[in-house]
């Protein structure tokens, strides 16, 4: 293997409220660490070039493309992924609205959509439809035509989905 111990670095971060310490290679992306080392495969990689938004996760509350975000840069930070939204099997209003509104079909963009929308709602609890469209501009969906996604986010906002179950605050 090309991997060598000398090149490895220590990474300590919090993922969905749990502290994780691992040795990684400097070149590893956050998406690779989440998917391959922590088995959090809900985060999907599509374009691998920070264009499509499928890999969106939250780092200290900010939506980032984990496919191009070096895991080393997440050292000491709080990372939230789609697996951290529902707690004890209880869906967030946003997740429920996605189901109710059929805001996904194949589901491959859904994790990223949910995380981008979560960041949006945490910053702006009462967005207009235009706000939602702008907030999700970096997220592609090829199945739905987007309208149901916008409706779902607005519905979640109306239901008071400001902080989600797995929000930063809950982990502290």
């Amino acid at each position: 293997m090309a991997e060598t111990a000398e090149r490895s670095i220590d990474l300590a971060l919090e993922v969905n409220g749990r502290r994780r310490s691992l040795r990684i290679e400097p070149r590893e992306t956050l998406a690779e660490v989440l998917r391959d080392r922590l088995a959090l495969t809900g985060t999907k990689v599509s374009c691998d070039a920070q264009v499509c938004g499928a890999c969106t996760v939250l780092v200290d509350g900010l939506a980032v493309s984990s496919c191009t975000y070096l895991a080393a840069d997440a050292d000491g930070r709080r990372v939230r992924t789609v697996e951290g939204l529902a707690v004890d099997g209880r869906l967030t209003p946003l997740q429920q609205a996605f189901i109710d509104r059929a805001a996904f079909q194949c589901g491959f963009c859904t994790s990223g959509m949910l995380m981008a929308a979560t960041a949006l709602l945490e910053e702006n609890p009462a967005p207009s439809a235009d706000d939602v469209v702008r907030g999700l501009e970096g997220n592609l969906c090829r199945c739905t035509g987007y309208a149901p996604i916008v409706e779902a986010v607005l519905e979640a906002a109306a239901a008071g989905d400001r902080t989600t179950n797995g929000a930063d605050g809950a982990a502290e």
Binding site: G42, C106, G107, S111
Partner: protein, 701 residues
């Protein structure tokens, strides 16, 4: 048979917008896709691709790559003497890895397997390939020129024709297939026409961009092959794998978990033979996950050049249609022979056309292979044909809606001999679109309205099986070879089974798309899953019910009291038994199950082709910014003439999603034109002579 319901049965969920069954998995990150499959000992592959559109492979030096630490196997065509390298469901012309020659930039030439993907990627740089570039053609006109380079030298490469043998003929060197549809006296029709509308139309090459790129994991064990893949048609992939590796069908297992979008781009075989070959040489399970860039080089939609002429009488009745369609099929046939066939068929309606002569050819070019994409054949030709309907209306001084009303096929009417009559109400569809669009209210200045309609022969071949198992507790397992690609099959098919067995929906579970565990289904595409697999499940459920009634007679009423079939069980002398009780009674214990079988083939209700007609009816109101030329869609109306909507919410989301993808194609094509004009300005006219955009290019000075 008389059926009496004596107590409240579970409500039949047919026609209900029940929530998607994959909903919770997909919003919690718990849904498994091919990209999430990880096996013990799994190695990772990367592919070295040709930088040339057309070249002879002179030599490949893999020594340095093989010596790279962490590399397990480096594989070229020469390393696979025991593998049949050429596959293809329509025309066997597609090598799983380049055999002496490359036919498009991006064609796989060498596969490297390593402990991890990064190491495999590193090793690709250590491979040296010597190419001898050949003259190339990247568009249809160049491919058909008399002195065009020949892309496939050996006609013998075209040999596996399934279902449309009559279309495979090589009329010129780079012709992959040629389809013709004709009836009536076309010459006479055009001779007597009051109006002939003629034109040439171009349809762009498009990449479907399913969010999930192609991914496969292959594993060999005891001479049998298992492949997890993002394919829409697991059974057809199985067939190609069995062919390549000289295996019986039973020794190949293809498993498809959730698929991250298909739209046709994951129909048929893609990277599975290569992945299996790499696993064979590596002696380990191998994962090959393409990047989006590589996926673009794997399959795209057929571009088209359409020459179309339509003849009308003075009242706007269609008299005849002539067309020559050239599809840009790319380097390998893939599904393009069928795209050509369908394009020919889809010019045969949705109107009454007394005389027609349509030729559609799939043409090889040195570009990435083209295949299915969203109603293949239909968008290419419908765009052209419906544009001519509008042009004819204008020239005849008729309302475009009225022109369509006069010509549209009536329910039951056959578009051409020996096909199923139209099983939809196209006239009513037009009126619904018109009403929604307020057709009779003229658009304000700067805006326009349009309505368009098509009818596609859908459903593909009716070859489908299903199994419905009713367990000893009365719950139901359905095995169905249809793939959940986002269309909602896991929900709709469960609804059908629950409705037929009259059990609550949450008592029905589905197992899909595993060729070893689930019985055969031809494919998931052409809108055939709800119709054909739905029919197979309905038949399997009825077969299970019939057996259960017989079992009740045998086990509970051998001496004759009548067994009365109810919605959700039977009653004997007024005593009720549910399905689970009947299973237990017949087996004489606490366990057992009944196995119901459903078959769909070219017989009975599905003897006539196509199995059904799929209607597309769309209305738009658009505005044009007169300064910038920007077209803005103000309103979009779609009409889905689907018969009984088993899950109306899913129907609506399919319809809207497809319509928006269609808009994206239009936008992308306009964007491509705008870029080319800008490039012309920058490269050819930097100092100012005006660049004028023409229909099919630019003129300068």
């Amino acid at each position: 048979m008389k059926r009496v319901t004596t107590r409240d049965a579970a409500p039949a969920p047919i026609g209900e917008p029940v929530p998607r069954r994959d909903g919770i998995a997909k919003v919690t990150g718990g849904a498994t896709y091919a990209t999430d499959i990880a096996l013990p000992g799994m190695a990772h592959a990367k592919v070295l691709r040709s930088p040339y559109a057309h070249a002879r492979v002179v030599s490949i030096d893999t020594a340095a790559a093989r010596a790279h630490p962490g590399v397990i196997a480096v594989v070229t065509a020469e390393d696979l003497p025991d593998v049949e390298l050429i596959y293809g469901h329509a025309v066997a012309d597609h090598p799983l890895i380049a055999t002496g020659k490359v036919r498009f930039a991006g064609e796989p030439v060498v596969g490297v397997v390593a402990e991890d993907a990064v190491t495999a990627q590193e090793a690709l740089a250590l491979v040296t390939v010597e190419y001898e570039p050949l003259p190339w053609v990247t568009d249809v006109a160049a491919a058909l020129a008399p002195d065009a380079p020949i892309i496939h030298e050996r006609p013998g490469e075209q040999r596996a024709h399934r279902g449309f043998e009559e279309d495979i003929e090589r009329t010129a060197a780079n012709v992959c297939s040629a389809s013709r549809q004709q009836w009536g006296d076309v010459d006479a029709a055009f001779a007597e026409a009051a109006l002939v509308v003629e034109g040439e139309f171009r349809y762009p090459l498009c990449y479907a961009y399913a969010m999930e790129p192609y991914t496969a994991v292959a594993s060999w064990s005891e001479g049998a092959l298992t492949v997890w893949t993002s394919a829409q048609h697991p059974y057809m992939v199985r067939d190609d794998l069995a062919h390549c590796f000289h295996l019986p069908l039973s020794a190949v297992r293809v498993i498809v978990p959730y698929v991250g979008g298909g739209y046709g781009s994951k129909s048929y075989t893609k990277i599975e033979p290569l992945t299996a070959a790499l696993a064979l040489r590596a002696g380990r399970p191998v994962r090959l996950a393409l990047s989006v860039e590589e996926a673009i080089l794997t399959t795209r939609g057929d571009g088209a050049r359409i020459r179309l002429a339509t003849a009308f009488d003075h009242e706007g009745h269609l008299l005849g249609r002539r067309a020559t369609v050239h599809l840009d099929t790319g380097a390998y046939a893939e599904n393009s022979p069928l795209v050509a066939r369908k394009a020919a068929n889809r010019l045969g309606g949705p109107y009454r056309i007394p005389a027609l002569d349509v030729r559609c050819s799939a043409i090889y070019t040195n570009t990435a292979p083209a295949s299915s994409f969203r109603g293949f054949g239909a968008p290419q030709v419908t765009f052209a044909a419906e544009s001519q309907m509008d042009e004819a209306a204008e020239r005849l001084g008729l309302d475009p809606l009225e022109l369509r009303r006069r010509n549209v096929l009536q329910p039951g009417e056959r578009p051409w001999p020996r096909v199923r009559g139209i099983d939809a109400d196209l006239g009513a569809d037009l009126e619904i679109a018109a009403e929604e669009l307020e057709w009779d209210t003229p658009a304000v200045a700067g805006r326009g309205k349009a309505i368009s309609i098509s009818a596609s022969d859908a459903g593909s071949e009716p070859v489908t099986t299903a199994v419905v198992r009713v367990h000893s507790d009365g719950s139901v397992t359905v095995t169905a070879g249809s793939t959940e690609i986002g269309q909602g099959s896991s929900t709709v098919l469960a609804q059908i089974a629950a409705g037929e067995m009259a059990v609550p929906l949450d008592r029905v579970h589905l197992v899909q798309s595993d060729t070893a565990a689930v019985s055969y289904d031809r494919s998931t595409g052409a809108s055939r899953t709800t119709t054909l697999m739905g029919l197979a499940i309905q038949r399997a459920a009825r077969d299970a019910r019939a057996q259960l009634v017989r079992w009740a007679e045998e086990a509970l009423a051998p001496d004759g009291p009548a067994v009365v079939e109810e919605r959700d069980g039977v009653s004997i002398d007024g005593k009720r038994y549910d399905w689970g009780e009947l299973v237990r009674a017949w087996f004489g214990g606490a366990s057992g199950e009944v196995v119901g079988r459903g078959y769909v083939r070219r017989a009975g209700a599905t003897e006539e082709m196509p199995p059904f007609w799929e209607v597309g009816c769309v209305g738009v109101e658009a505005s044009v910014d007169e300064e910038t030329g920007e077209i803005r869609l103000e309103r979009l109306v779609t009409v889905g003439d689907v018969g009984c909507a088993i899950n109306p919410q899913l129907v609506e989301s399919q319809d809207v999603g497809a319509a928006v993808m269609g808009l994206a194609i239009q936008r992308a094509a306009r964007d491509a034109r705008a870029q080319l004009v800008r490039w012309a300005e920058e490269a050819l006219a930097p100092d100012g002579p005006a660049v004028v955009e023409e229909r099919d290019g630019v003129s300068i000075g």
